[in-house]
Symmetry: D2
Subunit: 235 residues, 4 copies
């Protein structure tokens, strides 16, 4: 049921509200008799998408359970139009699970794009990077546990000990969002400019959305993902 | 199924997501092992409410179909944390339905509260008020129809003709909101300071919420509606 | 100082925060050394607009005082990402000021667009429409006053009496919004699909924004207002 | 000008809009003649605060530059009603600056509160914790630099290398928020239940707000911070 993402992460649908029909239903409240022209549902949904009539898409809602590395969570949480409950590292002890990239994703800094990746690292360098990531993860986690509790010691507060953990440790949360803002998330995060590690989450969610609201997703793909914006000057 | 409100209005549940258990489920993601102390669900929900831990309540969502006078809609729409699709008076023709208060709700301006009502109007004055409201509604609506279409004329655009209609005409919308922000709405609009005509909608919704999430609603009633805030000085 | 709009309305700048330089300043915090390539400010702002990097535009804020007819206010308030304080018809008595369109704006319902206007009304029909709008405004306002206070009567509560007033009466508010969401408002409301009566407000504000943040406004005009979006299929 | 917070952090005011008078000005638009009763400004502001009339407080805006450890940033960013531009670890290289608590803040896990701290750690344990935090910070940062660039190697992309850095490394951002939501932030984060490391930021900001809008801050302190909420049953 949960779609696996990266080495230890996943995305799982917890609940949803509405579907393609719910978008149409809401639009028809607004437009009443005025929707005669666009009399099939699929045409209406595509019309709404094309003209940025976004409020009917807000009538659908999706709730996910996600497990993800903290550096991905830090990008994701910037999308403010969602509801979130995250695992608390003040209350609870973090699990010993770290994201370690597969060798083919160990890329060099891009030489053309300051915010991106270039060629894959060569064997020796890649090996050294993996060794660093693994050993630092292991050592910092050992120290985390040691700070939390050692025989004969008080044990550092969890909210303090966690500061020693690197950004590739996994956290988890419930994340709930309406379909309009989910499309906005997908447009930004399933995009080639997004970091690979969040893009794979966006792609996993996109597949779920395509199943859930196929017509709306088709319109989104066509007008938002695949579309391009030309400036007035360019025209 | 729809709860009637005022003379022609209603509130009807279209869909909902989650329930009391969904609040607990989300909170337990956050608090993990830390929730052992509050081990029953009802205690946990009351704890969350008491300490303003509001994000687990955002995990529930309610979608309503509402028919309401425009002057009520103007107060309601000020709650920005909701999703709305309203009947369009640009596309469609408004129905001939106006809110005419019952005599016992025809109150005088309050002499103590600048934003409220005082005693009920006496018979003759009340009768005169009712007669004004009814005849102006009828006349303005007749004129609305006349402007829209008369034999041998072009017919004024709907978006213009509607400006002649008074604020007690009914409109309708789909309104979707999460439970935390719904409680906030209820706190402000089921309150004695709110205008009677929106309060009856809030009260109708409150009854639906009490059925839907009885534990959360009980906590809300106890800590928000019935509660009072004392200032530091007062303590 | 206030720009007049429609027959009795206006838009007036109360305060603002930031300018073109503030957008650049915020972007440079994010991008640090990465902004070397786009080393002039104007190029950076255009780059941000082109790539939908919207958060630096949120760093500017504008506060306006607006006087506008209620049917325009009802469209405007749907933009939820703003801060509003409106004149209260529960506390205070509304002024006797109504929007009466100029003859050249008295258009017929469009025959091609269900949500728009077509040809201007001919002389006799236009005259009849104007007469209706004026006399209904006058009569409903006379009745409003009569309900509020007549010799020897208690006077109906303001919050009730106002329901007799038509949607072309003027209200006023303070409206504060960040530049990103203001651009979104302008894109939707300075657009030909928007109703003329809100479009003139959007256009008045657009002129103020062009003075305030000329570079950002230029980029907005070029990439958002003048631009077109092509679907994947169209490409 | 910047207020230092923790060992390397700070809070600095970049810009602000409005003041106590702006709150009153906005409220008087709403309440018009109705505000006669509360004729002094300070009384009006206190009245608004007491009755949760929050929209006039949204008319003031504050923009800060903040430098803070990542684990604090992760708590802070959960406040969605703000505008943020953060330093990008995809574009730029992080500085070698880590939060190392002072010994008197190295507390044990609370034995009564699952989400809090108890007694300060004793000498030997505290020393061991400090040594761990310092050496792991140094080592992970050395490895970060090594992964980014070594003689004769390509250098790992910044967006990947940063995943090795622990949560006590410093980041920075511009943060802009309206006064109502800032008060909400302060109520939650200057509270004893908040983690010490974010509380000191909230307290530094509170002092700035007290200078900026002394009357509103006084009302906030009295009715929100110092106040208590009694449940209906308790009354
Ligand atoms: C002591 C403490 C412990 C905490 N522990 C945890 C924890 O264990 N796990 C965890 O996940 N979080 C935890 N939090 C974070 C908490 O759940 C909130 O996310 C955070 O305090 C921000 O509060 P807020 O949502 O009220 O603020 P804001 O996001 O600024 O929102 C203010 C108000 O605006 C409205 N609003 C804004 N955005 C939206 C939106 N997208 N949808 C609907 N309404 C919106 C709501 O009415 C909201 O109350 C903790 C916070 C504190 C203070
Ligand atoms: C030509 C035209 C015709 C229209 N016809 C109709 C009609 O017939 N019926 C009708 O009901 N409306 C109609 N509208 C109004 C329209 O549906 C929007 O409500 C309005 O344009 C505001 O747009 P917005 O929601 O993008 O703006 P804002 O409310 O300012 O929101 C901007 C963005 O912020 C986010 N956001 C803000 N608040 C929330 C929230 N509470 N939940 C989730 N995300 C949020 C969303 O990403 C949103 O896109 C029409 C508008 C136009 C321009
Ligand atoms: C008795 C009464 C009298 C009133 N009188 C007047 C009056 O005279 N004039 C008048 O103008 N209004 C009046 N109002 C309306 C009032 O000012 C609010 O607009 C309304 O109650 C909605 O409340 P809200 O903003 O808390 O709700 P929501 O808009 O649902 O917001 C909930 C919370 O989310 C956050 N939030 C949501 N959107 C934004 C945003 N765009 N920017 C920042 N934060 C956001 C805030 O933290 C907010 O508190 C009155 C309301 C009541 C109940
Ligand atoms: C490739 C890429 C690179 C990035 N690089 C950086 C970087 O270097 N630094 C950095 O700081 N960020 C960076 N970001 C994050 C980016 O700035 C946004 O924070 C993030 O993409 C969320 O987008 P959003 O604000 O549109 O979404 P949401 O927060 O979901 O908002 C959707 C819409 O709702 C409205 N809205 C919601 N909340 C508010 C609010 N509180 N006030 C006003 N309007 C609101 C706005 O109209 C907004 O457009 C990057 C993002 C991407 C995709």
């Amino acid at each position: 049921k949960a779609a696996p993402v990266l080495d230890h992460g996943f995305v799982r649908v917890i609940d949803y509200m509405g579907n393609d029909a719910a978008i149409v239903q809401a639009a028809r409240v607004s437009y009443g008799a005025g929707t005669k022209k666009v009399n099939d549902d699929s045409g209406l949904i595509r019309y709404l998408m094309r003209h940025w009539h976004s409020t009917p898409f807000e009538m659908c809602e999706l709730k996910l359970h996600v497990k993800l590395p903290i550096f991905v969570a830090r990008q994701w949480i910037r999308h403010r139009t969602a509801n979130v409950n995250e695992y608390s590292a003040r209350y609870s002890i973090m699990d010993r699970e770290f994201y370690i990239p597969e060798p083919q994703h160990l890329a060099a800094q891009s030489t053309v794009n300051n915010q991106g990746r270039g060629a894959v690292l060569e064997g020796a360098e890649a090996a050294r990077v993996l060794e660093i990531l693994k050993s630092d993860a292991a050592r910092t986690y050992d120290h985390y546990e040691e700070m939390l509790s050692q025989d004969g010691q008080q044990g550092l507060a969890r909210e303090l000990a966690r500061m020693n953990l690197p950004a590739n440790i996994y956290t988890q949360w419930y994340w709930k969002v309406d379909l309009h803002n989910l499309f906005h998330f997908l447009r930004l995060r399933a995009d080639p400019h997004a970091q690979y590690e969040i893009r794979v989450y966006a792609e996993a969610i996109a597949r779920m959305v395509a199943d859930w609201v196929p017509v709306a997703f088709g319109a989104f793909e066509d007008y938002r993902m695949g579309g391009i914006t030309l400036s007035g000057k360019a025209i």
